[in-house]
Amino acid sequence: MPDYAIPLNNNLIHKTMKRLINIIVLSLILLPIALMAQDDKKKKTETVKIQTSAICEDCKARLEKDIAFEKGVRAVELDEETKIISITYKIGKNDKESLKKAITKIGYDADEMPADQKAHDKLPDCCQKGATPHK
């Protein structure tokens, strides 16, 4: 091993960096465990069913992905036959009316609430109301 003189400053910065990096690494490993535990907590949630005007698998994917990001939503599933969307959310964080509004904003009808026209027109052709159902 060649004998270079290692400056003292470098060593100190190295140590602090090392400590900071250890903290980041630890959190990278602990965070998933913490979140996995959280996933199991199913109490204090409510599930609502809303009738939508979804048509094809594209619509299902779109709705499920967008609603997932609404506040407090824990689970989303759109039934392909009935086009009814089931949303499970944490009580207090959200409610049925706000979720219906969110669905209309994406461009679909939600129960009695009509779709936001602008959003509906932006949808791909297969998702527009009155289109023939296909993949």
């Binding site: 091993m1 990278l28 965070l31 998933p32």
Partner: protein, 744 residues
């Protein structure tokens, strides 16, 4: 010993899964799947009667009725449903698990997709029906690590290894089947790319966020793309104008001082045409030397990269046009080196690389009314210029390159027998200068090819191809290639491949890393064309364990060189001898890979690979230097329900590799005979929001480094200086963070 424990644990896990599979009671409850089949006509979508619908690997099925409707029993273990009709591309879809309804639209006649003049394929994994052993890395996979460019996109792949070629320039190379990256044909959008002068740094010219997917094929590939693939082929598919997001942006920053900015945006020009622009800027601005050898661990660099493309899709005509421009400057060497002062021993050892590159392509395709019949023309023009110095060695190179490929595709008697034939032309003009020596050469290679494909629609697929090329210097040569796929059923598939590959060596451009040393380059004889045979077999097995699918793959490949341009660093530690192979040179590679969703949301990939690569160096059959004898990989990916959080952890176990002999050096500059085995870990956390996501990660978590990667770093102008013997990471742990924003 840790590795042995992993090996045993892994074996036990697989054994357990196999036992579980046998003791499972296969449910005999058969559901029914029904729906309607459509075709696209001038009036829009119309129901299509008479379509054959059957489960892949079986012969029983049904047909769509006069209204296009169908009903088929859904056996519990059925997966892939095939829709087939004369004149249309046979479609295979993954049967929906939770639904009994499925409507299908038949895609148009198989035309340009085959030659990928205009690729419509999305980021799907290659279907099990693919005859060639190819693995697809999708953009979803690419986002698991902050892969900023192509060289960083293989971290979760057990098949492709990426390593630094030297400790000074940042040049990277891949390794496939134990062979160096030059034996893998690099392509972008099915046209050869990143070759010639771009070989050493080309992986850094493809930004990660520009890519839609990467296909890695092992073994000899199709004759349609040329003769240059010996161990395999890597094809990069860029984002396409029609299918990509309206706007995308990515920002990246690492704690070591590397910053990146990417964006892409698209616009619809009219019903038939789309245009897109992709931009990239990256920079490493901070100097650091953590191993204290006086040299920068990572070179300083700035890169600008811009890509504009348009595509046009008409009724019988499709076209794509694109232009790419790149500018990069790169500086490295000793910390004290001053780039503005004249270069001499007092200033220290420095390197600089200035690169300019322009690429332009045009793909056009015409679809005839006869089903499965089309003609496609691919053209690409490349200009590459690099102005470099390594210490007191100057190297400048310019390359002009033109590639043209005309492909005609049709069928004989029935669509079971299809063929593709055509002509190609490859032109390269190299103008290189190394110190005072000038090397100019022109390569002009016209060629013809023919490929026949047979598919019985159920179990057997077979591709046989032959091409004949004429090289202006090396004369005529023939390239035969054969691929076979047999599906015992849809769960058990075997693939065979055999073929020849050729390439003409670019001694200087492919070995710039050797210029970052004091070794003298000695070319013993005029390099001939490199030539090799490659044979391989792949087994794929899919087993359902606990409702989820376990995928197991086994690859066994052998490459035999008939001629190779040997780069010999063993004969003399102060020289690099370059000569045509005199003896045997081969590579045996065996890889076992398994993938399974172990817990809900937790995807696990485990793989192990053994390499036995030997070549005749200095008249003795020896292990090829710097090739790991074995490699292990475990990749864990966990996504929470609704995929709001994603965690990725990848562990690589790298085995020992032989180092080039330094026995004749003075003791201070002698290396061990073998490099040690070591482990590398990378991890990343991603949080997803509606339109954007943020990520935080770390590479090389264990902070493992190759101590003193530069031989004689304290005497760079002396005769023992060598920065090209690199077997491990040069920098330690790297923490990074970034943000991606998307507007669909």
């Amino acid at each position: 010993m840790f590795f042995l424990k992993i090996k045993v644990m892994r074996f036990l896990k697989i054994l357990l899964a196999a036992v579980a599979a046998f003791s499972l009671n296969i449910s005999t409850f058969a559901q029914k799947l029904s729906g309607t089949v459509f075709e696209i006509t001038e009036e829009g979508e119309q129901p299509l009667p008479g379509v054959n619908i059957y489960w892949a690997g079986t012969t029983t099925g049904t047909a769509s009725d006069v209204d296009g409707k169908y009903k088929i029993k859904k056996p519990a273990d059925a997966h892939d449903l095939v829709f087939s009709f004369v004149g249309f591309e046979s479609d295979t879809i993954h049967a929906p698990h939770n639904s009994n309804k499925y409507d299908h639209v038949m895609r148009g006649s198989k035309t340009l997709d085959e030659v990928s003049v205009v690729t419509r394929a999305k980021t799907n994994f290659v279907s099990r029906l693919s005859t060639v052993n190819a693995q697809t890395i999708t953009s979803g996979e690419l986002q698991k690590a902050a892969c900023c460019n192509l060289s960083e996109s293989f971290e979760t792949s057990a098949s492709v290894d990426v390593s630094y070629s030297d400790a000074v320039t940042g040049a990277k190379q891949i390794e496939l089947l134990g062979l160096s990256g030059i034996y893998t044909q690099m392509m972008s959008e099915n046209m050869p790319n990143l070759r010639g002068l771009a070989t050493s740094f080309g992986l850094g010219y493809v930004p990660g966020s520009w890519m839609e997917s990467i296909q890695v094929s092992k073994g000899a590939s199709s004759v349609l793309n040329g003769y240059e693939s010996i161990s395999g082929q890597i094809n990069v598919e860029y984002k396409k104008a029609e299918e990509s997001e309206k706007f995308f942006m990515n920002l990246y920053q690492s704690h070591m001082g590397r910053s990146e900015l990417n964006f892409n945006t698209k616009t619809k020009m009219n019903e038939h045409a789309h245009a897109m622009v992709m931009g990239h800027w990256s920079r490493n601005g901070s100097k650091h030397d953590d191993n204290g050898d006086g040299f920068l661990d990572d070179p300083l660099y700035t890169q600008y990269n811009l890509f504009a493309r348009t595509d046009f899709r008409g009724k019988n005509f499709e076209g794509q046009f694109g232009v790419k421009g790149l500018m990069e400057n790169r500086r490295g060497g000793q910390i004290g080196f001053d780039h503005d002062k004249p270069r001499d021993v007092d200033n220290g050892y420095g390197i600089e690389l200035l690169t300019e590159r322009i690429e332009s392509f045009l793909k056009t395709g015409f679809i005839f009314s006869r089903p499965q019949t089309s003609v496609g023309i691919q053209q690409q023009f490349t200009y590459h210029h690099m102005d470099t110095y390594f210490g007191l060695t100057d190297y400048e190179g310019t390359q002009y390159s033109y590639y043209g490929n005309v492909l005609f595709q049709s069928y004989i008697s029935s669509t079971k027998h299809t063929y593709t034939t055509g002509v190609s032309y490859l032109y390269d003009r190299y103008e290189e200068q190394l110190n005072d020596s000038i090397f100019n050469r022109t390569e002009s290679v016209p060629g013809v090819f023919y490929q026949y494909t047979y598919s019985d629609g159920a179990k057997l697929n077979f591709i046989a191809g032959l091409r004949l090329d004429h090289h202006n210097e090396f004369g005529f040569f023939a390239t035969p290639r054969l691929h076979l796929r047999y599906g015992f059923n849809e769960h058990n598939i075997v693939r065979l491949s055999a073929g020849k590959g050729y390439r003409s060596a670019n001694i200087l451009a492919e070995n710039t890393s050797l210029l970052a040393s004091s070794r003298q380059l000695v070319v013993r004889n005029a390099p001939k064309m490199e030539e090799a045979w490659n044979y391989g077999i792949n087994f794929s097995k899919h087993i359902i364990v606990n409702d989820r699918e376990l995928t197991i793959g086994l690859d066994i490949y052998r490459t035999d060189f008939i001629n190779q341009v040997v780069i010999d660093r063993d004969a003399d530690a102060q020289k690099v001898l370059i000569y045509n192979l005199d003896g045997t040179s081969y590579s045996n590679s065996i890889q076992l890979e398994a993938n399974y969703e172990l817990l809900k949301g937790l995807d696990v990939t485990a793989a192990v690979r053994f390499n036995d690569v030997q070549m005749t160096l200095n008249n003795e059959l020896q292990e090829k230097p710097l090739v790991n004898k074995y490699k292990g990989l475990i990749a864990l990916s966990y996504a929470t329900n609704l995929r709001k959080w994603q965690f990725d952890l990848t562990t690589q176990f790298n085995g020992v590799s032989r180092l080039p002999s330094t026995a004749s050096n003075p003791e201070a500059y002698r290396l061990d005979d073998y490099s040690p085995a070591y482990t590398i870990m990378n991890a990343q956390v991603t949080k997803f929001f509606r339109n954007w996501n943020v990520y935080l990660g770390a590479e090389n978590l264990t902070n493992y480094k190759q101590e003193n990667p530069i031989l004689a770093a304290n005497d760079p102008f002396g005769k023992y200086f060598d920065s090209s013997i690199v077997w491990g990471p040069i920098s330690g742990i790297k923490v990074y963070a970034g943000l991606r924003y998307t507007i669909e």
